[in-house]
Amino acid sequence: MHDYFVAFKTIVIREVLRFGRIWIQTVLPAMITTALYFVIFGNLIGSMIGEVGGVSFIAYIVPGLILMAVITNSYANVVSSFYSSKFQGNIEEMLVAPIPNWIILSGYLVGGMLRGLVVGVAVTLVSLLFVDLQIHNIAVVITTVILTAVLFALAGFINAVYAKSFDDISIIPTFVLTPLTYLGGIFYSIDMLPDFWRQVSLYNPVLYMINAFRYGFLGVSDIPLPTAYTIILTFILCLFAFALMLLNRGTGIRN
């Protein structure tokens, strides 16, 4: 078991060094983009909107923007790292070694989660320049951000397993992930939507994560907390089992 722990640690350290080496591509863009959101939607347009959910608009969008950065970066880290390993062939370094597949998967997930958290902290620091951040429940903030990062790291892994070209690793983030995130209630409460669109929004899993995370900061949420946790954990379990099955089968990596 000690060997497995060393192998797991090796994958995690390798992943952290990888995104650390290219921090200009991995950490900095999210900080700049979020700063622009705060300036435009928070300060300029937000001052015309007034309060949402009992707080200023800029304070309302902070949790969503942090979580959006976490989602995007957890996903991007695993999808690009695992696909690159397939593309360059260095995935074989792990396949010939005596590492069980669940260790390989866990190593990538923790690597992706750590990038999500590093970027999340960086974006939070940027937000402090624009708004006095309050924290309603720190345990909810921490558990939600970790679970969300793991979930999207898993989704990135599955995308990378099926990807056959670099185009394939950008299609899902562009056409699925970004719309789901933007329509997941970062900038608005679903109570502001007409009934039909409010019901449609309830099928968006990102909505549950953003609302749980917002509850941790502001104490306001469109979704009951237990429902949000149940949905997130269910997705994690299903995606983990699916990703592990793909690895065991050798889909996309073994002939």
């Binding site: 192998a7 080496r21 370094e93 010939v96």
Partner: protein
């Protein structure tokens, strides 16, 4: 064989496009051997290696590495094996030293020991000065040596080298041969595939030839070369020759006015040939083998197998 380093039983592989890459191969490699696994392109060598290294799913058969079944004792079997694949397959953006430390880590070797091992093998393969460079900045020969260092960092009992000297200049190739001999003398079993047949002839004690998914030869290098009945020589002549005189050899032809090619029965030797040439006042400036001995034997075996496959299809 009591405890073979490698035992393949009835190993077969059919790809999804119905290509039968391996047709029930049985093979044993003794512990401590330096073993050549040869075959033309597409013969099934890389498929066999891929299966042994767990990179290709097999269709049937069994693989044992030092007595450990690859299915039932996967961890123990994999720990005994080091692989140097044909294609460069490292992360080109990673520093050279990191590649080795990570590989050791995948085998459960702690970072401190992995760093020491990386230093030892990088120095041994003359890559220490490049330890902080990205792998993409290495020359072709350096990349080959990096792959060997990476395969050795967990100190496997058996090393599979799939064309390790492809694209490497002669000087580095010879230094790599010396290194391979050294690790083999220290007890590591080596399985080598190569298209440089003089490399296999010079290094290996035993040999198997795969062709069209079948094992067509499995014997010692000495036995194989003894079985070679003919040798072909190229003779450079002092004076031009217009027509070839009748010579007491297996076959002969004039390549050009100054060059003659003769096929000699090995047990007859060259004395009779030189007597004939003197009789016709043909002066020889120099003489050389057309191809090395293993190359000739290899071509005979592969051609024979091709003919028997054709006969089976036509039957």
């Amino acid at each position: 064989m009591e405890n073979p380093a490698l035992k393949l039983s009835n190993l077969s592989k059919t790809y999804s496009n119905q290509v039968e890459a391996l047709k029930a191969i049985d093979l044993e490699v003794a512990e401590g051997d330096f073993f050549a696994l040869l075959g033309p392109n597409g013969a099934g060598k890389s498929t066999a290696i891929g299966i042994i290294a767990s990179l290709v799913n097999r269709s049937g058969g069994e693989v044992q590495i030092f007595g450990h079944d690859l299915d039932r004792e996967r961890k123990a079997a994999k720990r005994c094996l080091g692989l140097v694949p044909q294609e460069f397959n490292f992360n080109v953006f990673e520093p050279v030293q990191e590649i080795l430390i990570n590989q050791a880590g995948y085998y459960g070797i702690e970072r401190r020991l992995a760093t020491q091992r990386a230093e030892y093998y990088l120095k041994k393969l003359e890559l220490w000065d490049k330890r902080l460079s990205s792998a993409r900045d290495l020359s072709g020969g350096m990349k080959r040596r990096l792959m060997i260092a990476r395969a050795l960092v967990h100190e496997p009992r058996m090393l599979i080298l799939d064309e390790p000297t492809a694209g490497v200049d002669i000087e580095i190739r010879h230094s790599m041969w010396e290194f391979m001999r050294e690790i083999n003398q220290n007890g590591t079993t080596i399985i080598l595939t190569t298209h440089y047949l003089e490399e296999a002839e010079s290094l290996c004690r035993n040999i198997a030839i795969i062709d069209q998914g079948r094992l067509v030869e499995n014997t010692s290098m000495k036995n194989l070369l003894t079985a070679l009945q003919f040798e072909t020589f190229i003779l450079d002549l002092q004076k031009p020759l217009e027509q070839l005189p009748p010579l007491n050899v297996q076959a002969s032809r004039l390549v050009d006015a100054y060059t003659m090619e003769v096929e000699v029965v090995r047990e007859h030797g060259l004395n009779d040939l030189f007597c004939d040439l003197s009789e016709y006042s043909i002066e020889v400036a120099s003489l050389r083998n057309k191809a090395n001995r293993l190359e000739q034997m290899f071509l005979h075996r592969v051609r024979d197998n091709g003919r028997s496959e054709d006969n089976q299809r036509n039957a």
